[in-house]
Each structure stands twice: as structure tokens, then as C-alpha cells.
Symmetry: C2
Subunit: 203 residues, 2 copies
Amino acid sequence: MPRDGGPARLRLQQAGLDLYQERGYDQVTAAEIAARAGVTERTFYRHFADKREVLFDGENVLRDALTAALADTPEALAPLPALLRSFRAVVPLLEDNRTFSEPRQRVIDATPALREREQAKTVALAETLAAALRDRGVPEPAASLAARTGITAFGHAVTAWLLDPALRLDPLLRQTFEDLRTLTAPLAATGEVSRGAGSRLPR
Amino acid sequence: MPRDGGPARLRLQQAGLDLYQERGYDQVTAAEIAARAGVTERTFYRHFADKREVLFDGENVLRDALTAALADTPEALAPLPALLRSFRAVVPLLEDNRTFSEPRQRVIDATPALREREQAKTVALAETLAAALRDRGVPEPAASLAARTGITAFGHAVTAWLLDPALRLDPLLRQTFEDLRTLTAPLAATGEVSRGAGSRLPR
């Protein structure tokens, strides 16, 4: 995730990440992060509500960049193609921040409390994108289902990209959405879905 | 979610849910749940690790029922149709438990710590289903992407069903998977996905 803010805020984030990697998240206090960053504990709490937030600051940057990108896509574009275009638009932001995101993801994966926080942020991001789709005129339940499905595919691509330095994010995103379409296509042929009545969704 | 276990365990779950509804989750202790259920606090902790788990016992029942249903679907069925069939197989289990699940969902929705727990359980369920798909011979990344997408659609349908007593779950599940296919179909036509190279996924 991208980072945000002035020098003290950025130093606190790097100091937190470094300490979490060195000792494990549970063994580190906000005071120690502040000391490593060369600021007071009071300054730490001016920037972050708690030591978890040091790793989640960039979620707001990502959310704002995604909603701005979505607002820039033509209204005629269907929901998932519009989301894919928005995810592709934030690739440079994610790439610029890879040296921070990669170790950050390892710390999160190793810490149950952080994994729960990350999942909650992902759900919140899906809700934000669903609201943005409704603002474009996409009705429910299409807006929520598209936003959740899109975020699922986006998360899948970003996770694979962070795990393998040889992968490039933009082609991986396009491939993941293509895979999504390939996976859902057989739903039409199995008789498992309702036939004849058509879909409630605009095509 | 379905419930599990003998009389004391079931009484503890109902007592917990009742107290959470009456006072709010944060205001209730394990000792109070035990007293309401007519058992000792020691008995409470023999059944549940903490007061959160009173609401999440049924997740294991659901997971086991889903993996058993998936094992029963023909191997030739593609991943998402196989998942849809498995979700449809557990509809009676979910319907039988609706009088518990509906107030349970309201308590969870009102309590951030419970929402995070629920999301973590959902992620774990997706991982279990991805492993079951791999056991059927579905390669990665198809197995994980299908499991996550399927759980997303399943959760979407179950949430809508719990919110509206007029809805029936089985047609809603089928409709949601049909909607998923309808939403992904335009990905082929927009030029947003990689063309020509085809998909990495088996069709």
C-alpha cells in the first residue's frame, strides 16, 4: 500500500515496519517506534491512533486514487471493466511503493490481528467502490456484487505480485480478470443457474 | 450459521445471543451467559474459548457440510458450477437455522470486533474450499480465485436472504451466480483484458 504524509509520518511508518520485521509485531511498542523514528511518543499519537495504523495509512491513499480513477472512466463502461480500468490506473502507485508493501505484507501475514484488520479494510474498500458504482447509475445488487468480485480479483493479483518479484502487476491484473471471466463462463452451460428468466442485471 | 453440539452447548449459544441482543455484545460477560444458560462458568469455558466463539460455532458445521458436498459433485464439473452446487446443498442447513442466524447477523453487524472475526472466518472458508478444489485437480491460480469468487457470491446471497424474510435462498443463490456471469461477460468485449494469448485456466 502507498504511504502518505510528511517526513515524520513517513519515518514513523518505516521505523514501525523495520521494528516489526526485527522483533515481531507483538513485541514492539508505539514508544519504541517513536524513538527509532527520532520523534516523541506524543508525535506518534498525533499521526496514528495505535501501532496497527502505522501499516494501514496507505489504504486511504489507495481508496482515494481508486475512486478518482473510477470517476474518470466513461459511464458507458460496464461495472467490472470500469473497475479493472481503475485498478490498472493505480498500478504505478503500487509499483512505486513495492519496497514498503512487500515486507509489510509478510508482517501482516504473520500476525492474526493484522490479517483481520487488513480484511476489514478490504471490505470497507469494496463498500466504497460499490457506492461509487451506484453513483454512476449501477443498480443494486449489481453494484455490490461487482465491487466485491472486483476487489477479490484485485487482491488476488496484488498478493501474487507481492510474492513473486518476477511478475509485473499490470498484465497480472488483466490476466486475473480474464481468468474470472473464464471461470464464470461454464455457469451458463451446467443448468446450475436459473434459465429462461434472464438476469436482473443490465447487460 | 448452523449450531452444533449437545444441550448445554446449544443453551449457551442461545443465552449468549439473547444477552447480546438485550444489552449489546460489549456489556455481556461469559459468566453472565453461563448463568443465563443454567451452567457454571467452568462449563462455559469447556465449550468455548471466549464469548466471541458462542456466535461462531456453526462455522465448522458449515465448512464440513460444504466440503462434503463438494466431494460429492462430479469431478468433471468446472470449479464455479461445482461450488454453486455445494452451496445449494447446504441451503436446508441454513434455512433450518434461520431463527438463530438472523438476530446473530444483526449482533455481528453492530459490533466491529465481531465483523472482523466473521471476515476472518470467511477468508479461512475460502482457503478450505480452494484446497478442496486443488484436491479435485483444479490448478492454481484457478482454485483460489474460484473459491474466493464463489464465497463472495455465496456471502452476497446469504446476506440479502437474512435481511429480507420474503426471499428464498436457493433461487437467490442461483440468481447471484447468474449475475456474476452477466457481470464478467463484458470483460471480453472492452479490450481491457489481454486478448489473443487466451487464458491460463482450463475451460
